[in-house]
Each structure stands twice: as structure tokens, then as C-alpha cells.
């Protein structure tokens, strides 16, 4: 457990979501895709599992900010999809605090899922691939957000 700080479970007031829904969605998508591609460059993601993501459409929704981003993986790069023309293969929906807890490895996705704080819909096996891939990443230690080890 990181001794530096703990991310509490919180929910942003609903006006934030109403505001967020009216903002253009592309900044989220770009930030997310940039992060994923950075992880690719650092070779943190294994090739064998990446192959399983080819051409799949993913959607990440942050309930309490109203933000939503869609992206896909093609020819070795994650790419934002601004106007998805079909239902995603895999979709996540949760409040911001749940995503932060996941990223800091403070909570386990199964815990959040079983407790109904994280919604995952679509191809269950693909969801498992993504979850296990993220779990297996050895993040370089960041000075501020220490992961759980």
C-alpha cells in the first residue's frame, strides 16, 4: 500500500457532468491515446497480447465528469476515434475516483466491478486481456504517485 497518500472514493457534483457533456470530447481521447502510446514506446505492453487488440473499438466513460473517449489499436499505434460508427467492442464506465484508484493500483478492477463501481460491457474476454495486460505492466516508479509496491 502506498504510504504517501490514499485516493478516497468520491463523486463529483452532478453539474460537473452536465458541463462536461457539453465540452468537446477530443481532449480526453487525445490524452488517453498519448498515454497509451507512451507505454507502447517504453515497450511496457507485450506484443502477443497487443495483437489481440487490433482493430477493436474501446470506449472509456467518466460518469461524474461526463467525459468520454473512444479509441482503437491499429498497426502498432493507439488512435483516437472521434465519431465512432458502431458500438464499442469493450466499454468502461466509472467515476473519476475509481479510475484514479485503478491507475494507482490502489484497488483491483475485480473489486470495483463486483462492487458495481466499474461497469464493463462488451466482449468479456477482451476485457480480461486488457485488464491482465495493464496488471502486468511494470510502471517505472514515479516520484509522486507511488504504486503499491
Amino acid at each position: 500500500m502506498n504510504t504517501h497518500f490514499t485516493i478516497p472514493k468520491f463523486r463529483l457534483p452532478s453539474f460537473v457532468a452536465r458541463l462536461g457533456e457539453r465540452l468537446p470530447q477530443w481532449p480526453h481521447a487525445l490524452a488517453l491515446v498519448a498515454g497509451l502510446n507512451a507505454a507502447l514506446k517504453m515497450k511496457l505492453l507485450p506484443a502477443s497480447e497487443l495483437a489481440l487488440l487490433e482493430d477493436k473499438l474501446f470506449r472509456v466513460r467518466v460518469n461524474d465528469t461526463g467525459g468520454e473517449a473512444s479509441y482503437t489499436y491499429r498497426n502498432g499505434l493507439f488512435r483516437p476515434v472521434f465519431r465512432p460508427e458502431r458500438e464499442p467492442d469493450l466499454a468502461f464506465a466509472a467515476n473519476l475516483s475509481a479510475y484514479l484508484q485503478l491507475l494507482a493500483r490502489q484497488e483491483d478492477p475485480d473489486t470495483l466491478f463486483f462492487n458495481r463501481e466499474l461497469e464493463i460491457t462488451g466482449d468479456t474476454e477482451l476485457g480480461l486481456v486488457v485488464k491482465n495486460m495493464l496488471d502486468a505492466i511494470e510502471w517505472p516508479r514515479l516520484p509522486l504517485i507511488q504504486t503499491s509496491h
Binding site: D108, T111, F114, T124, D135, H149
Partner: protein, 335 residues
């Protein structure tokens, strides 16, 4: 006081292994990235290189690595299982956890010095079965299935010199593990054939307004309200209509948690306590390992003063499937 049991924790990835070691596991158990182990899920488990890193990390801190090759060799492909055993020995794992008697035989003859454990998938519930495996394959330890009462566990321990390991925390698999075909009934694949119960490709989380349905290969297993904790859809933990009543007819979607009876488990001479969950994330491994370590250390510091801290129970309840804890078979009046 009896010797404190080893705490054996799951690792589905290198970060999970490190989390287990850093939070007080005496040993981690893991599997190769293929169907030689009973948690063969996409993206999970270890390739040779990650295993080498993991062994180095654990041994550097004086902990052990146990490798599970606990599925049954499939006809025509027995070589794959033999190769896995040879590779494990080469890599220097502390013990190999096996279920298949053919593989036990192979490992014992080919690698006489290798420490072997009998897997829970081997379904040995009596001391006769365990002593047989000791005589034939010189097993060092046996993991008991989660179907015995505490008195039955004690009876086994009193009648064998093989070390006994039991489950201490995690999701329950109730059907004489290793012999359960429920998953095959629903989807044609089960733990002992493909290395996974109810594989994810057959699972559907079906979100409807106000509820979520869970399905396994199309079969409705359970239905949850929006705020109700959910569980993974295995047939054994489904809600079924039986003679007009709809309820969990076989098993509730709960997690085993032995903290309340930990002093008894230690007293009867259990040598190792195992945490289920190789499919879970490093965060889960951290939380569960840390909690069980604290409980074991409290016991070491004085069995009379041991009591279960609410904070431990809260931490374990949070990560439980269905968010409920039970003592499982350990205190069941019927057998």
C-alpha cells in the same frame, strides 16, 4: 505454540509477485502462460523470462516460488506437460505443484531431487490418498480441497507426515475440485481440460435498465440490482429455480475467510495457508497479503490475545466476490 504456517500468495504477473513478496508472503505460487495450469486466462501468468525475474526477486528476499502445473495432461500432447516440468526444474523453482499422477510419476523419476506438492486439483481428501502419493512420488506437501471440516483436516494431519496446506482466503470452488464438470456442462470446457472454469469468452455481463444479468454460454446464471454486489457467473454459484423457489441452490457467491478460526488452524498443525486469486490484480494481492500477514503476526505474538480486527475484516470484505465472507466447509455441521 505450534509453528506459524507459511503464507502462500497468488501471482498472475510480475507486479503481483512483487506485491506478495513486499507485503509478507513466505511463498508465491504461479503458473506458465499456457494450459499446463488451472488459471489459463489471456494475458495472465508467466513466460520463462518473467519467471526468471520473479524467482530472482523472491529469492533475493528469502521467499519461495512454487510453480503450479496442475491441469491434467491431454492425450496426444503429454509432451507439453513434461516440457513444462523440465523447464520449471531448470529455472530453479522451489517446488512444483502437480495434480496428475502420471505427471507426478514423471517428475519424480526424471527429477529425483525436485520438491513436489500435490495440488488441490488432485482432490486428495483422505490421509490414505496423501500417504499413497508420499509412498509413490515422495510428495512433500498436499493442498487440501475446500470441502473438509476443521476436525477432518486435523484427522488428516494426525495420520500423515506430509505437510498440509489449506485455503485461507478467496473465492470458493466447492465441488471436490479437480472433479467438477459443471463448467463443461455449460460450455464444453472445464478447469482440468483447458485450465479455466467458465472461460471469459462464454461470459456475458448483460446490462439492462435497473439490473445486470450474467450469462454463461447463454445460460442465465444470476441477476443483480444496480447496487447489489455481483459475482462471476459459474454454474455452482448461480441462482436457480428449485421447486418454485429461486435461490443459490449449490453455493452462494461468497469468499472464504478463515481469520476467525486462524488460531485453530495453527493449533492443529497446518503448515501453510494459501490465498486464492491468481487471476486478480496486484492491488488485491497487496491488500490480502498484508491483512493475513498482520493476522499471522498477531497470532505469533500471543495466541491468547488474538482477536480479529474489524479493519482486517473490512479490507477482506471489500475485495471479496459478492462482498460476503464465510468459513466455508471448515465449520459446516454436515459432511
Amino acid at each position: 505454540m505450534s509453528q506459524l504456517p507459511d503464507l502462500i500468495c497468488p501471482a498472475g504477473s510480475l507486479p503481483a509477485l512483487k506485491a506478495a513478496v513486499d507485503n509478507g508472503a513466505d511463498a508465491v505460487y504461479l503458473g506458465y502462460k499456457n494450459d499446463t495450469n488451472a488459471r489459463n486466462f489471456a494475458g495472465l501468468n508467466f513466460e520463462a523470462k518473467a519467471l526468471a525475474d520473479g524467482i530472482r526477486y523472491a529469492h533475493g528476499k528469502g521467499r519461495e516460488v512454487l510453480l503450479a502445473i496442475n491441469t491434467f495432461a491431454q492425450a496426444g500432447r503429454v509432451d507439453d506437460w513434461h516440457k513444462a516440468i523440465d523447464a520449471a526444474v531448470d529455472q530453479g523453482v522451489d517446488a512444483i505443484i502437480l495434480a496428475d499422477v502420471g505427471l507426478l510419476d514423471y517428475a519424480r523419476n526424471r527429477h529425483p531431487q525436485q520438491r513436489l506438492h500435490l495440488s488441490v486439483q488432485g482432490s486428495a481428501t483422505s490421509y490414505e490418498a496423501i500417504n499413497f502419493c508420499q509412498r509413490e512420488f515422495a510428495i512433500h506437501r498436499a493442498v487440501l480441497p475446500r470441502v473438509l471440516t476443521l476436525a477432518q483436516v486435523e484427522h488428516v494431519i494426525q495420520n500423515t507426515s506430509v505437510e498440509i496446506e489449506v485455503f485461507g482466503f478467496g473465492s470458493l470452488c466447492v465441488m471436490n475440485e479437480g472433479r467438477c464438470w459443471l463448467s463443461s456442462y455449460a460450455c464444453g470446457e472445464s478447469p482440468n481440460t483447458v485450465g479455466a472454469c467458465s472461460p471469459a469468452k462464454y461470459v456475458k455481463w448483460d446490462k439492462q435498465p435497473g439490473r445486470m444479468d450474467t450469462r454463461l454460454n447463454g445460460i442465465l446464471i444470476d441477476r443483480f440490482g444496480d447496487a447489489e454486489p455481483a459475482g462471476y457467473p459459474t454454474l455452482c454459484k448461480g441462482r436457480f429455480e428449485v421447486e418454485g423457489d429461486t435461490y443459490y441452490a449449490l453455493e452462494e457467491p461468497t469468499s472464504l475467510n478463515v481469520l476467525p478460526i486462524l488460531p485453530d488452524i495453527v493449533k492443529i498443525g497446518v503448515r501453510a495457508i494459501k490465498v486464492e486469486g491468481r487471476q486478480r490484480s496486484p492491488a488485491y494481492v497487496t491488500q490480502v497479503t498484508r491483512t493475513l500477514r498482520a493476522a499471522l503476526d498477531a497470532l505469533r505474538d500471543g495466541a491468547e490475545r488474538y482477536h480479529v480486527k474489524p479493519a482486517w475484516q473490512a479490507e477482506l470484505a471489500k475485495v471479496s466476490e459478492g462482498s460476503q465472507a464465510t468459513l466455508g466447509a471448515y465449520n459446516r455441521p454436515w459432511r
